[in-house]
């Protein structure tokens, strides 16, 4: 339950806005980081913290692409294959990544580690091909760098030690402010 686990952060987030509703997106970021995706329970929980009908949280989840309604892998690899990146081989890069991971786009590897997605422009067009992994940027990629990244992430997962995600960093900030 994020309400207990992140009581301080939630208090900090709510204090930033004159309406509770404004805290919906921030709390959903927090809930998704906790549960991996926006499960129905996560929606209910965020709604109850904000005195909203859970339908509203469902609406937001469906509208904004960064929220996942279905479970995803531990690492969500979001490759931009929008025009600017595609001019630099992003479509081929996605094909390569898909082959290396043995999954199609929007699928998750059997070990639950990786989900591959294609996304719209991520504002790194000058460093294509690129991807975001759990919102961290990885730029100027090629096959070798991709393989290295995957190997590093596999090792990290195997060690049980995960680097803090950006959402965790944000949560830490909310605690401090």
């Amino acid at each position: 339950m994020i309400q207990e686990k992140y009581a301080e952060e939630i208090k900090g987030i709510l204090a930033r806005y004159p309406t509770k509703k404004s805290a919906a997106l921030p709390l959903m970021h927090l809930a998704q980081r906790e549960y991996g995706y926006m499960s129905r329970e996560a929606m209910q929980e965020v709604a109850s913290i904000l005195d909203l009908d859970p339908t509203h949280i469902l609406s937001l989840t469906g509208f904004y692409t960064l929220y996942y309604e279905e479970p995803v892998g531990r690492y969500v690899l979001e490759v931009c294959n929008d025009l600017a990146c595609a001019l630099k081989g992003a479509d081929e890069f996605v094909e390569m990544a898909s082959e290396k991971l043995g999954i199609d786009v929007d699928e998750t590897t059997a070990d639950g580690l990786f989900t591959l997605k294609t996304v719209m422009c991520l504002a790194a067009c000058d460093r294509a091909p690129m991807l975001q992994c759990n919102l961290a940027f990885h730029e100027h990629l090629d096959e070798a760098k991709f393989e290295a990244l995957i190997a590093k992430l596999r090792a990290e997962a195997a060690s049980g030690k995960m680097a803090p995600s950006v959402v965790e960093k944000i949560a830490a900030y909310a605690r401090q402010s």
């Binding site: 904000l50 937001l60 025009l83 504002a123 790194a124 067009c125």
Partner: protein, 433 residues
């Protein structure tokens, strides 16, 4: 030449507060805190600064729309940088955050706002983290919060992360999103200057726009107007990508030609592998494509008017001779279909329909009828949508039709093949029952 906006390229670690302050940081703020708010707006108006998000609306005039007097007001920074080919605000947020914060504080002082929100696309949480560190340093050093620099002026500043929606770059959609709603634009009026965030007067300024403000205040409007042209004064960050040797952000003085941007060694360094230039998108996915006759046009808000396009956010995507323009249009339309919020009919239905048609045409399965329909559907979206996204979505289609009709024709199935399968089915007629 020293940078005015991308100052981190000249000054190491300027993202750190002490470094920024050593380099005249927050002196502009200090200066305005002793001024009448209206005088601050006047300087910005006199400088001729125009919105860097793409629309080019005069910033000083925008601030001037805010009603005077007491009452809650807001400054909201539009850092929802999602236009395809645009990556300038991310660099500012990550590398030169204090200049943006200072610009926003000056805006807040000028209009009498006590709260600033920076609406940042959710994908920038990494960039945003650096920005949040900067905010925290400001709070710790009396630059934010109560009684800033002992002036009696108080202002709070918070980050807000979106969650993946291009449309939130539209200011009313952004405000809706910030209020915890679906990121759908509202029909104006009411304009944000009258009823914006929480129904209060609100200024929404692009990140880069605000980064221009501190140097304008410090050095004056006349100093600023020496850069750029009469109607498009000042420096501009150009995002160069696609088929160029040196893609990246470049700070230029407005008025420079696209040719210089692409070919000069100082900037793009030409097109890789000796390929020829074919076309460019001067404003990401949303502005009409132009061809080589526009290369000598100046990069100003007006420069591309004769060529049927716009500078917009100056997100220049270069395409060499190998690029299939139907493919290009399909990529762009896919983007707009994906990002259409669905609120208004022509955009919701039209982007879906255009993508269906383009895919079929691109695969070589389209008919002459499909071509006509595509052109007509694009025309039927234009001018009828609630926000500008609908007009953006048709630009790649109509402009490729204009410049590259032969590429569409070449993809159309020979009539015989169509007849071989029988007449292409159209939807059932709308008969009365």
């Amino acid at each position: 030449m020293a940078h005015i906006l991308l100052r981190h390229r000249d000054v190491k670690n300027i993202h750190q507060l002490d470094v920024y302050r050593k380099h005249q940081g927050y002196e502009a703020l200090q200066k305005v805190l002793g001024m009448e708010p209206a005088a601050v707006t006047s300087i910005v108006r006199d400088s001729g600064l125009r919105g860097r998000g793409g629309a080019g609306f005069p910033t000083g005039m925008k601030w001037g729309f805010i009603p005077k007097g007491a009452g809650e007001k807001y400054v909201v920074i539009n850092s929802d940088e999602s236009e395809m080919g645009t990556f300038k605000d991310r660099e500012l947020l990550e590398r030169n955050p204090h200049q943006v914060i200072e610009g926003a504080l000056i805006a807040a002082y000028a209009i009498g706002a006590k709260q600033i929100y920076n609406y940042c696309r959710g994908e920038f949480m990494d960039a945003g983290y650096v920005f949040e560190q900067a905010l925290r340093d400001c709070y710790a050093n009396g630059l934010l919060g109560e009684n800033i620099l002992g002036s009696g002026f108080s202002c709070d500043f918070s980050m807000y992360f979106g969650a993946g929606a291009y449309i939130c770059g539209e200011e009313t959609a952004l405000l809706n999103s910030l209020m915890g709603n679906l990121g759908q634009p509202w029909s104006k009026p009411p304009f944000p200057a009258v009823e914006g965030l929480y129904a209060k007067p609100t200024v929404v300024n692009n990140t880069e726009t605000l980064a221009n403000v501190p140097p304008i205040i410090l050095n004056g409007a006349d100093w600023y107007k020496q850069f750029g042209t009469d109607r498009s004064p000042g420096p501009k960050i150009v995002c160069l990508s696609g088929h160029v040797n040196k893609p990246g952000n470049y700070e230029i003085n407005m008025g420079m030609t696209y040719r210089e941007l692409i070919y000069s060694e100082e900037y793009g360094g030409g097109i890789p592998n000796g390929k020829a230039f074919k076309a460019m998108l001067p404003s990401g996915g949303s502005g009409p494509v132009v061809v080589d006759d526009a290369l000598d046009a100046p990069m100003t808000y007006e420069g591309l008017t004769p060529f049927g396009s716009v500078m917009g956010s100056a997100s220049v995507v270069i395409m060499d001779e190998t690029v299939d323009m139907v493919w290009m249009a399909m990529k762009c339309v896919h983007f707009f279909h994906h990002e259409s919020c669905g609120k208004c009919t022509p955009c919701r239905e039209g982007t879906y329909w255009m993508e269906k048609l383009l895919k079929r045409i691109y695969k070589g399965q389209g008919t002459q009828e499909d071509l006509q329909t595509l052109r007509s559907v694009a025309g039927n979206i234009g001018g009828r949508t609630l926000c500008a996204l609908g007009d953006f979505a048709i630009n790649p289609v109509l402009s490729t039709f204009r410049h590259f009709p032969q590429e569409y024709e070449a993809k159309i199935k020979p009539a015989a093949a169509v007849n071989g399968q029988g007449k292409v089915k159209t939807a059932v007629s709308v008969a009365a029952d």
